[in-house]
């Protein structure tokens, strides 16, 4: 048995360290360490209610709009603030731009460059993968970055800027969209579709959305003959066995994403081993038995409705600033794969039925979701009525409690707020990577990444095992959100 500490990780937002026990060329045990505490929840106490819209998004420069949406919904839920249809559509569009930009940034800039690593230099596909996906030098980044900047022009119109927009409010969006601006949004989305259909998929979005099995996906990728970056991934994944790497067998959770009067685009729920169920939101707790916090008197798990456990850096039985969220006492995985499993898309369901939740399934679900959301964005732009209101000005109550549940690109994000006298008396946040990178709980059960890393192969002499890199990145972690 040997011990290996991997970290800090590049191409990951924030600070992360992974401690591995290695035996017989594989990871025997893993501890995931979030080494940075920031204290946003403590900062928010005592602030005027609406100031949460300024502070909370500054947790993160990547999932900023997700934080805005969660904060706005939590505040709206303290009272009864109506959301005009246009407001819902505009906020969905703002949120969708961030989420698909995050998915693509993860795919092109964070995940794919690992195939260019020197450890793969002997593989027949390495030269091609490196030319396309090497960090900074690869051709893919040069194609993707201008497309990303053009997509972000939607946010210039809809939200003034990104990140840290204040356009997202409890009653909708401050930014009414004129008929001329709708035409511009449509043109920007048409340009985005062209990038996806030419560069990422080399096929129509509708054809990608219709892929329903792993066999169909592999056949589709082989027909593309290495045209399109998604097909390149599928072929590289097959060559490197990513469908056998980073496996978990956990509950998948989604809070539901992109609400509308007809229901959310992706529904709320839980999915495990082929069976969907209702999400018991009131059974979410945070355990601090292995984190640097103290819950008097007995470290009992707390509901996010309660005051957060105070930090205690002196605990020597702890190893992370990340708390351990649990759903009805159990570990849950979150992210694009979980969202699409709950939503019932046949492709991720087939991938997971065959191989479990793996590195491959997480990446496929993420890229598939880009196609699904891009098509929905086109529908939302068409549904906006420029003559109708975008925001409702019903004031918040001075006292109340509310929860704001949404889906960031990398999974389920919840804000829980209490107000008294117009000020915040408690603010609790559980971020997606808090779920996925959670430490052990009181029962000793490891978090999703800790479970996914068990059995990962470690080659002779590897200081940064490439399998560990693939598995860690497959969750698209956002560490600054994890310990906010």
């Amino acid at each position: 048995m040997s011990r290996l500490i991997v970290g800090p990780f590049n191409r990951v937002e924030g600070d992360l360290e992974v401690r591995l026990d290695i035996s017989a060329g594989a990871v025997a045990d893993a501890r995931v360490v979030s080494p940075l505490y920031r204290g946003f929840e403590a900062m928010l106490v005592g602030k005027p209610a609406l100031d949460a819209l300024v502070y909370a998004p500054r947790i993160c420069g990547i999932c900023s709009v997700s934080q805005s949406v969660a904060a706005a919904r939590a505040l709206a839920a303290t009272g009864s603030v109506p959301l005009p249809a246009n407001g819902g559509l505009a906020v969905n569009l703002i949120h969708a731009v961030e989420n698909v930009a995050d998915h693509l940034t993860h795919f092109y800039l964070f995940f794919m460059p690992d195939f260019a690593r020197a450890v793969y230099a002997g593989e027949p596909w390495h030269a091609g993968a490196a030319a396309r996906f090497a960090a900074v030098r690869g051709g893919a980044a040069q194609d993707f970055l201008p497309a990303r900047a053009e997509l972000m022009n939607l946010l210039g119109v809809l939200a003034g800027k990104w990140p840290h927009t204040l356009a997202v409010q409890p009653g909708g969006s401050t930014r009414a969209i004129s008929r001329a601006e709708l035409a511009r949004l449509g043109a920007l989305l048409a340009a985005f579709r062209r990038f996806l259909e030419r560069t990422l998929f080399a096929d129509g979005l509708e054809a990608v959305a219709a892929l329903s099995t792993r066999d169909a996906l592999l056949a589709w990728a082989e027909r593309r003959a290495m045209a399109g970056d998604f097909a390149r991934f599928v072929i590289l994944s097959q060559a490197t066995g990513l469908n056998r790497l980073g496996r978990t067998d956990l509950r998948h959770m989604s809070y539901g994403a992109y609400p509308s009067a007809e229901g959310p685009l992706f529904p709320r729920g839980v999915f495990r081993r082929g069976v969907g169920s209702v999400l018991p939101v009131d059974r979410i707790t945070e355990d601090v038995s292995h984190a640097w916090y103290r819950t008097a008197p007995d470290d009992a798990p707390r509901s996010p409705r309660d005051l957060g456990a105070p930090p205690d850096a002196a605990r020597d039985d702890a190893y992370s600033w990340c708390k351990a969220p649990r759903l009805d006492g159990e570990v849950a995985e979150v992210g694009a794969l979980s969202r699409q499993l709950v939503a019932g898309h046949p492709l991720p369901r087939d991938l997971v039925a065959r191989d479990g939740a793996t590195v491959e399934a997480r990446v496929v679900a993420r890229v598939l979701e880009v196609a699904l959301v891009a098509m929905a964005m086109e529908r939302w732009v068409r549904a906006i009525d420029p003559a109708a209101p975008f925001i409702d000005h019903t004031p918040l109550p001075t006292a109340g409690e509310g929860a704001g549940l949404t889906e960031a690109a990398r999974g389920s994000l919840g804000h829980w707020v209490d107000l008294e006298g117009g000020r915040i008396t408690n603010y609790q946040i559980i971020a997606p990577t808090t779920w996925n990178f959670s430490p052990r709980d009181a029962a000793g059960t490891p978090g999703p990444l800790e479970q996914a890393l068990r059995g990962a192969p470690v080659r002779e002499g590897e200081a940064e095992p490439v399998a560990v890199q693939h598995i860690v990145r497959s969750f698209d972690p956002c560490m600054v959100c994890t310990v906010h």
Binding site: Y55, W162, H164, T174, R175, I391
Partner: protein, 151 residues
């Protein structure tokens, strides 16, 4: 970049030689003190909604975000996020603190007596178009060429 390119906080002068107010598309509303009342209204956000664009030093409305967009274009107030200490303004971000109806934070380099005098004068002179549009999310009166009225 040398010391001569930086301001007293060592921020690049390329950004901080300007005020957020420079290039603000709501300037006509500012000139006549035609004010927004609710988030999303078209009018100037200084009087009621906490906007610090006339004090904040940044080029946000000259060099728009990603080529198009700014906080003011997004219909929400400037919170002076380029300034040290902006995070603890001592008041709710989206509400202008006032004494006797006059905003505490006046435009940069503007003497208070002149601000009060000019504000009351310009309020009295506010064109109907601006007065009617300021507290709405979309204009109800547009600029109009009277030469076409007789046709």
């Amino acid at each position: 970049m040398t010391g001569a390119d930086l301001d007293e906080w060592e921020r690049p002068l390329a950004y901080t030689a300007h005020l957020v107010h420079h290039g603000c598309a709501r300037n006509e509303f500012y000139e006549f003190k035609a004010s927004a009342e609710q988030p999303g209204d078209l009018g100037c956000m200084m009087e009621n909604l906490g906007c610090k664009g006339t004090q904040a030093r940044a080029d946000c409305n000259i060099r728009p975000w990603n080529g198009g967009g700014s906080c003011l274009d997004g219909n929400y107030a400037c919170i002076n996020c380029t300034a040290p200490g902006f995070e603890e303004p001592g008041h709710a971000f989206a509400v202008t603190p006032k004494v006797a109806g006059i905003p505490i934070g006046l435009p940069t380099d503007m003497p208070k007596a002149w601000f009060v005098a000019l504000a009351s004068l310009s309020k009295a002179a506010t064109p109907k178009r601006l007065r009617d549009n300021a507290a709405r999310p979309a204009p109800v009166l547009l600029p109009h060429d009277k030469r076409k009225d007789s046709a």
